[in-house]
Amino acid sequence: MDLSRRRLLTTVGAGVTLGGAGCAGDDGSTTGSRSVAGSGGGTGTPSTATDRSDGSKPPTADGRLHLDYEIGTLEEKIVSGGVRKDGIPSIDDPTFAETPPEILAPDDPVFGVVRDGEAKAYPQYILVHHEIVNDTVGGNSVAVTYCPLTGTAQGFERGPVEFGVSGRLVNSNLTMYDRGTDSWWPQMLATAITGPLTGESLREFRITWTTWDRWSSTYPETTVLTEDTSFSRRYGTDPYGQYNAKRGYYSSTRTLFEPLQGDSRAHPKTVVIGTRTETGAVAFDKGTLLSQRVLTGNIGDTPYVAVADTDLETGYVYANPESATVEAADDGYTLEGTTHDADSLPLDRSLAFDAMWFAWAGFYPESAYVD
């Protein structure tokens, strides 16, 4: 919508805004000193509508990701998270700035995305209040998603469809719904367990869980999501605890909901970098990976190798069926005499993401845990 109107509302103050904007319909903007003028598209589409099932579908993958449970079993394990559908509102008209919000400390977590040369950062302290951003990056319609209870940030292609927060959880994990078919997608599984698209898996892309200073140093041209979300929230307050330094839910051994399966191989909130394919899953202890730089594991009979990116403090996982030797070097990783960056080894990279161990082990109890 028009910027002039937003500026006017900011100037005249709250009292008049209440009276005037109520007649103007929902343009998804917020006024006030925290607002950043701008529009992420200005479609005028109301946020958090729940009745937009127009039959359009998100693009799905050719194959289905591995599940350690029958879909019917997972469906039975859906529980209420205590909020209504869209009670946690997705951001559907995001705005970005070139400079970070004052509140964003250098060590605060951000979820970084690079697609077709465009780099964007999504601060955890904003996403904890919304969990889903329906965005466009590098010309692609995507959903950037974050589940606070499982510590997972994942990206999905969304095509013409928006994703919303269903208010339900499986294994403590955000269950998204698509506003085209109303199929329900537990985020970590990326596979629909109810609705017309049941059994299909979404197309995913890499999201990097890192810190603002690491992300902005690596991608100085990045833009960053602003608090101009069209919702009033206390963005400085995390309902579950604190990441910098870790407190509350993020460090406690307790979980809010009972996991699908308990597993004592690690502290429940240990961060792993996990990957799952069409055949199985494997998880690498993130702390160990960052210190040792190279870890190896298996999915079935297939060897996998994980390497650390020490700049972004993250890791990448590759299928390594020939068991080629990968070694850490000063400026990368050597493979067959050639040095490569962590994110560009000449092997098939498998999409991997950070997760809390209890959540990974709950969904993938047969997964190896490498530490």
Partner: protein, 200 residues
């Protein structure tokens, strides 16, 4: 039979009428006294603030001064996000204090706070008064307890983190009913306290 039923009905109606009259007189009596007014004001305000804090609509944050309002407040104000919880339409920051304004939650909190305050005021005044010999000193606390519990009804499972209990379907459905049960309990205790106050 029909005569008996009519007589019974009349008897019940008369009892209810007497109960309401007693309670109204007790409330009026409590509020004419300075200690009653003080208790209503202090406990009501304290409860109201606790209720907003329980919702996480009131708390501390980075210091500043700000008033920001969503652009479509009249629509948003009626958007329900959870059981007895509605979408905030404004953020007010004064120094380190942050307040999210959700009009329907403010209204609900004010009603609950009034009921809690009235319960405590009537109980305390009746207990201190010479003619209310049947009220023990615990009556006020008992009557205020359901009100305090309701402050957590809105928080959903996050409150369980503090308590250290895992959320379950039963607990989550209990949260949904906690607030209406609280209103009923507060009205019930007010009537109970009112009925025991000697009003003659």
């Amino acid at each position: 039979m029909s005569t008996d039923s009519a007589a019974d009905g009349a008897g019940v109606a008369a009892r209810i009428e007497r109960l309401l009259r007693h309670t109204a007189v007790a409330v009026r009596g409590a509020l004419t006294r300075r200690d009653g007014q003080l208790l209503l004001g202090v406990s009501g305000l304290a409860y109201f603030l606790l209720y907003l804090a329980g919702l996480r609509h009131l708390g501390f944050g980075p210091a500043g001064y700000e008033v920001s309002v969503v652009s479509n407040p009249l629509t948003r104000a009626f958007r329900q996000v959870g059981p007895f919880q509605w979408e905030p339409i404004a953020l007010v920051v004064v120094g380190p204090v942050e307040l999210l304004v959700s009009p329907l939650n403010v209204l609900l909190g004010a009603v609950l706070a009034s009921l809690v305050g009235l319960n405590l005021a009537v109980s305390a005044v009746a207990w201190r008064g010479p003619s209310a010999c049947r009220l023990g000193p615990g009556a006020g606390a008992v009557s205020g307890l359901p009100g305090l519990l309701s402050g957590f009804a809105c928080c959903g499972p996050t409150i369980l983190l503090v308590v250290g209990v895992q959320a379950s379907a039963g607990l989550l459905s209990l949260f949904q009913w906690l607030l209406p049960l609280t209103v009923v309990a507060l009205l019930g205790t007010l009537l109970w306290v009112g009925s025991r106050v000697e009003t003659t």
